[in-house]
Assembly symmetry: C2
Homo-oligomer: 263 residues x 2
């Protein structure tokens, strides 16, 4: 497994682990799969996994660790999920508490870690095909929005679909659909293109997570299902404790991008 | 939802429900998604769903019913999983017991039904592209084999990958790979082509499930991950009760084939 870890990833993970890098991860360690993190008590694990199964577009599950295990033995056997993300969010009873860069103090044998595919994984393929990735161009976090589209509920978990947005020309949106269709395990094809209001987004300049980006004349917004959806669901459903990555501050895995291509 | 049920499916389901049709379902009600059935006690549901998540090629989960509910509310809201499969198998402590055509007498509020994608779903697309489907041509059940390839374990569930096999010319195998890659939720692309011994199959003429089919001169066997895998896993892992379809005797859902195309 170690062979697939690039030097760039090794350095990135080290600088994240020691707290030097606490910024978003889009465009970093290119070639590697990036992942959303959700950590929940074991008592909530089945219902959450069911939620993911019923909502595969926002929540494509890449790995589930055994209870208490912070090591993603399939995707990054040398990593530790308690220290190797640049920034975490801690939710208690559905309320966002602190943002931290290390969650070792919160860890317990009762916690189950879920890694969910992230759309940053296909951005290199977009760039290589000439499709712009505006938030990378502008050095910002990707803009993300809560929509009016409900997820399919599972037990105590329910809430709205969250999407990420990349603006581009219509022909580029078609090309982006072709390219990202291959990447089913990191959100796959877009869920919407064009009118933001059609999915309940009032103002593109005011994302619910991340930063706004420039939409140039003639461009259309293209929306992908987003792995921040579980955080919107946490607010709506209120598990006693839920640890996640901070939006855009992903876990960068050892796995190569193309390992997430269609099954 | 009802609009998508074809007249052919309506008739098939009725004749299955009343016990008239107890044979394999390959080629029946074309255009509809077919599914493997696994029913387990709620105490085993999380570990089994985890097993599926860790083994998405053999076990792509299409729907999980709530405990005690025999109605697949997403894929076939008018159906009953206790009566609407042509033939069932009952495993107790990992041993195959009776084969029956109705499991109403075994049902309880404690049971959770899982529907897993079946490769019969992409056979019409193969045929439409000129790729032969030998078991349909010969009026037999598809041949299925236990392999030497281990699944990734999850809790009490572990065991070998089971595959289905379709023989065809090499150029047709390439075409079949292209076509089935789109159908990620019904096993997607093949897992192996050519030498059966490379995956631990000693004799193509002696399948572990289903019937042997003719392999013509110049043809190669092409192997797809198979939703009978949970039955091999049941034997290896021994849950107290497990109800499945009899191999090849699938649940035919309301969902259209193309709903299982890449996400």
């Amino acid at each position: 497994m170690e062979q697939r870890v690039s030097l760039e990833l090794r350095r990135l993970r080290e600088s994240i682990r020691c707290g030097e890098w606490a910024e978003p991860t889009a465009g970093l360690a290119p070639g590697h799969t990036q992942a959303n993190l959700v950590v929940l008590p074991e008592s909530h694990a089945y219902e959450f996994l069911l939620f993911c199964t019923r909502n595969p577009k926002p929540c494509p599950v890449l790995e589930v660790c055994d209870a208490g295990d912070p090591v993603p033995r399939d995707l990054a056997p040398g990593a530790d999920l308690r220290t190797d993300l640049p920034r975490y969010r801690v939710y208690r009873d559905g309320h966002l508490g602190e943002e931290v860069t290390d969650v070792r103090a919160l860890w317990s044998d009762d916690l189950v870690a879920f890694l969910i595919g992230c759309s940053f994984t296909f951005e290199r393929a977009l760039l290589q095909s000439g499709v712009p990735v505006r938030h990378v161009e502008e050095g910002r976090n990707v803009p993300m929005y809560r929509t009016s589209v409900p997820c399919r509920p599972a037990g105590r978990f329910s809430g709205p679909l969250v999407v990420s947005m990349r603006p581009m020309a219509p022909a580029e949106a078609i090309r982006a659909t072709q390219i990202t269709s291959r990447f089913a395990r990191v959100h796959g094809a877009p869920v919407h293109v064009g009118d933001p209001e059609a999915i309940g987004i009032a103002d593109l300049d005011e994302p619910d997570y991340g930063d706004p980006v420039t939409v140039k004349p003639g461009e259309v917004p293209v929306f992908w299902a987003c792995g921040v959806t579980p955080q919107a669901v946490a607010v709506a459903s209120g598990p006693p404790l839920m640890i996640t990555h901070a939006p855009g501050h992903m876990f960068v895995t050892d796995a190569l991008e193309d390992e997430q291509a269609v099954l």
